[in-house]
Symmetry: C2
Subunit: 316 residues, 2 copies
């Protein structure tokens, strides 16, 4: 496997023939009945039991999706809700995903200055060497918040370099109210997200950060629901991998998202979370596969891959 | 004790007669020798042992500072470095601080949209009701990153309302490179941090959020190293508590920081971290108190309080 994150991603997207990634945002109350009732000890209000059920659901889901998509995105907030018990499960899941050979993106949105940023980088990108934690794997890449500028991004980038990992800096969100901040415009008509993209691109475009695939290990998070102007970032920054959330439940179409891919299908990871992992709640799959929740998830992945492939054909 | 966070803070600042808060940023290698060697099992490279030493140092430091300052700021990154073991210690420390009757601010800088923000709010502001975690206290207030706009702030604000807690939104950082983003200026000469302050003030200025002290439970983080223009936020937003990092080691003077206090001494928490908790490394204290690291910390708190009081006298 390639030592450079951007190259691993490139190989994975080529091998799986899709830019689709699946986001694990597990909520106990939405787990399939089969998971919620399959053990004696199963209780939404018992932390250990809830974490156990969530972990079980996630590992089974990982086994379904791993052969089909290049990467999985784990949203740490859904684990952090269960405090340290949830955090331990989060790291255990990373190990499960790693065994299955799928790239793991930790959606952690951490961000701070100086030494604090270094410590977050250690927690989330460094495979721990501490006794007692020495077998703990961290994700292949994480999302971060670049609000503190270059000094807030570099500590993460340096740790990623040292560990053969990657960083996606949050540039433009999918939600309406983020526009008040992210589309804030200067006298030259440059928007704040474009300024942040400029700062990220500068950090990304260092020789040691560019892999043989031509991509940097430092990428950007840009919502799929944003407009065509935003998609111009694709043409502007050819060495950047984009992580594009919002496909599916958050309202971004396949056409919206595919704008961030290059013609060869690389350059973007298009993430769907709820529309895939809760596919068994959707009538179209429920009617077809009944209680077979795993089959529902599998079919939702297949359908999403086809939809993205068709959108790509139309674009070309 | 007041049920409203802003009122508790007001009472605490009045009672302790200072705006000074102490930040706990514990790094194993900088712990006093007495802590590093006082147990047989003590090893920087053993997670459990390192966390144990850090926890011991923090609880002893809390006992020194609790009678003297209104609040303590715990920087979660220093605990997160030790993964779930560190996170468990972080929550244990909150309980220790609570017993000592000092307000606790969790410096967590979390931020995301919608459901994810709700989960972070639950993890960091809701006293857990889950079996197995039911005795876990969360901080009285946390810092957050407001990059996603109102929709990213409201879930935290609502949880704070429900729990009698507070939120400080990161508006302006202390580090130089943050200016590229936070001082980004629109055609009307408004800077991004002023825009964010405007958004935060709107969330803060809701009737249910204003306590009897006249302050809101939603405040702002504004670095003490920023200029006089930034300090104009004090006059502009009279209902806001400012959390002002950077006093001491990060280079902000007492005069810089005191600009965020009103004439009665309330309205700002001025935070010093390293200059206090590592006071035993500073020649002025080392020479006076030798190996008595606790006495060094105590004197550093006294000196900082005097320095701030003098700066306040000069200002009035």
């Amino acid at each position: 496997m390639a030592n450079h994150f951007a190259d691993r991603l490139y190989d994975a997207v080529k091998a799986k023939k899709t830019a689709l990634t699946v986001g694990l945002d597990p909520v106990y109350s939405r787990l399939p009945d089969a998971i919620k009732s399959h053990r004696d000890m199963n209780d939404e209000f018992d932390a250990a039991a809830a974490v156990d059920a969530i972990f079980d659901f996630c590992t089974q889901t990982l086994r379904i999706i791993a052969p089909m998509v290049p990467a999985v995105k784990l949203n740490i907030a859904f684990f952090e809700k269960y405090l340290w018990e949830g955090i331990e499960a989060y790291y255990s899941l990373i190990a499960e995903a790693d065994e299955l050979g799928i790239e793991v993106i930790g959606d952690v949105k951490r961000g701070d200055i100086g030494h604090t940023a270094e410590l977050y980088a250690a927690a989330h990108l460094q495979n721990s060497e501490l006794i007692g934690l020495e077998d703990t794997l961290t994700p292949d890449a994480i999302t971060i918040n670049g609000f503190a500028g270059t000094e807030g991004i570099e500590p993460f980038a340096k740790m990623a370099d040292a560990q053969g990992k990657g960083v996606f800096v949050w540039v433009r969100a999918t939600n309406p109210s983020s526009a008040a901040i992210q589309d804030f415009e200067n006298a030259d008509g440059q928007k704040l997200y474009e300024k942040i993209a400029e700062i990220v691109a500068e950090v990304a475009d260092q020789p040691q950060r560019i892999g043989t695939s031509g991509y940097s290990n430092i990428g950007m998070v840009v919502g799929g629901t944003t407009n065509d102007v935003t998609a111009a970032l694709r043409e502007k920054y050819e060495k950047i991998w984009f992580l594009v959330p919002g496909y599916g439940s958050q309202g971004a179409s396949a056409e919206d998202c595919i704008r961030f891919c290059k013609a060869d299908g690389t350059g973007a990871l298009i993430n769907a979370s709820r529309s895939i992992i809760y596919a068994y709640e959707r009538p179209q799959y429920k009617e077809q596969f009944g209680d077979d929740w795993k089959r529902c998830i599998e079919q939702a992945v297949i359908d999403a891959k086809i939809e993205l492939a068709n959108a790509m054909q139309t674009k070309l």
